[in-house]
Symmetry: C2
């Protein structure tokens, strides 16, 4: 019951700092998928992604003394922005380590939220070493984008809200990259769902989480060839055991299905999502029989996409 209470406490803790996001539906997409879909729109979350929940929760769990020394993370994606904005909202300094090949648009977004950027080489080793160095020099607390229990509990609040609004969901599908969203979602479903299971959606091109559940140990991707650029990371030692225990299965999807799902979301729901968000709907598109006539929740993770580089 530790997880259950922690999720409820997190939900209350972060409520003043995050949006309660809407759930949207589309008769057109339901007809195409031959099922009943509910879309939890974390693209409408502050800074445009669910990561705002976990980042806020992690900072709020720090002591005043810790907060005064700041937080540090390494990320080239949404978590860099989320930690920067969450820190700014709480009067805390955020140190963000970004790889030298990070796009300018992402750096600008972090700077827009007053994040202090340190550029390093584009390797995981360099990112970790640079973060550790900053933590040592400043006393800042390191917050991992997905492998941190308070981040996971914060992310779980999206699933909690989803089930509060749609208590009859039979399955919720969330994309899996670093594993922080799927771990949180699976916990929320386990403790707050009625007869509901959690399924992860993963691009076949970066199927490390799928293989990890098969092999029982954390696997690594050898390629990163997917348009779902937020899902190229791998699992961690904190979220992996949660996935093993609470996730029903992970289903892999091809790039054609991801693109088709993304188009449907833009054309029918009329909302802007990033490619990673389309992976959960792609799972349904590619497996219609498995979800036929069910009450299916789809977690749309975020909407931070470079409009100049839309894949259609």
């Amino acid at each position: 019951m530790k997880h259950k209470e922690a999720i409820l406490a997190s939900s209350k803790r972060i409520a003043p700092y995050v949006h309660k996001t809407p759930v949207l539906r589309s008769q057109g997409i339901n007809a195409i998928c031959e099922t009943n879909l509910f879309f939890k729109c974390e693209n409408f979350q502050k800074m445009g992604a669910f990561k705002m929940r976990g980042a806020t929760n992690a900072i709020l769990q720090l002591t005043e003394a810790q907060r005064s020394r700041g937080v540090v993370t390494h990320s080239s994606g949404n978590f860099a922005q989320a930690l920067s904005l969450a820190a700014k909202s709480l009067g805390v300094t955020a140190y963000i380590v970004m790889p030298e090949n990070a796009p300018q648009v992402k750096k600008d977004a972090v700077l827009g939220y007053d994040g202090k950027i340190t550029i390093c080489q584009a390797t995981l080793a360099a990112r970790e070493a640079t973060s550790a160095q900053i933590a040592k020099e400043t006393g800042a607390t390191f917050v991992h984008p997905s492998n941190d229990i308070d981040v996971i509990y914060g992310n779980a609040t999206a699933g909690l809200e989803f089930l509060e609004e749609q208590p009859d969901l039979e399955v919720v599908i969330a994309p899996v990259g670093g594993g922080g969203l799927l771990a949180g979602t699976a916990l929320a479903i386990h403790y707050f769902g009625k007869d509901c299971i959690a399924i992860g959606g993963e691009p076949s091109a970066v199927d490390d989480a799928y293989r990890s559940l098969q092999s029982g140990k954390i696997e690594i991707n050898t390629s990163t060839n997917t348009i779902a650029d937020g899902l190229r990371t791998h699992l961690g030692d904190i979220n992996f055991p949660i996935l093993q225990k609470y996730v029903d299965k992970i289903i892999c999807v091809d790039e054609v299905a991801i693109l088709e799902a993304m188009k449907l979301i833009y054309q029918r729901l009329k909302i802007v999502v990033e490619p990673s968000s389309a992976v959960a709907l792609a799972v349904v598109l590619q497996n219609k029989n498995a979800f036929k006539n069910k009450q299916v929740g789809v977690l749309l993770s975020g909407g931070n996409v470079d409009l100049q580089k839309l894949p259609f």
Copy 2:
């Protein structure tokens, strides 16, 4: 008071067939525009645009005998889809006259709603003659996309909902093309607003409505060179007197501002809108001082955009 009662009756009449659309906000856009914006999201309306309201209202005002003979309109845009879907929902046949140069994607949308398409030459004269011929042959009732009082009352229900949710709006800006949305919006504001005015937004490249209010007679565009492709039509003898009486003013905007507004809506609100919808926000972007620190309503008219042809 005739208008007031008619709008209230229309709202009740069409309620089972249309969505009550949400109002969205963005702190980011507010900061950029230095004002307080509220976006009424008719891009989330059925078939993706406010036109569903007027089309439904017009058909519901017909007698059973009239309905049995169908409805006919000429349109290459959203009204063709709106009348087709509204007719389908009510078990009525919709005859749609479309110009030979209408994009296949628009024809497919009409066919998807069971509209019966007749192709004609791409001139207004040919469209009117073909519609008249169909009305004569079938007994179908002609419904004009914007110059029909029941269509205008139906459109007005968006403004009514907007003011019910945000009663303190000081100004509401709607795009003006054929004049049906702005006329309905202005009526709703006059009868249901507290201290609120209606402003029309129009691309400078097709400033016929602006010039019509200046000259006191319906003016025509000589060019159609705007990305706001839904706003290239001109006013009619039913909506023009309403605009003259109830609209505070029409403000023209350039193409750069329309594109900038469209980008902001995609990036910050995370929603999909068509270029015409961005014109009202462009009015604010181009006239920040006039709207500074006010409560400003922006009517987003629709979201039917060809994703392959996004202007960014």
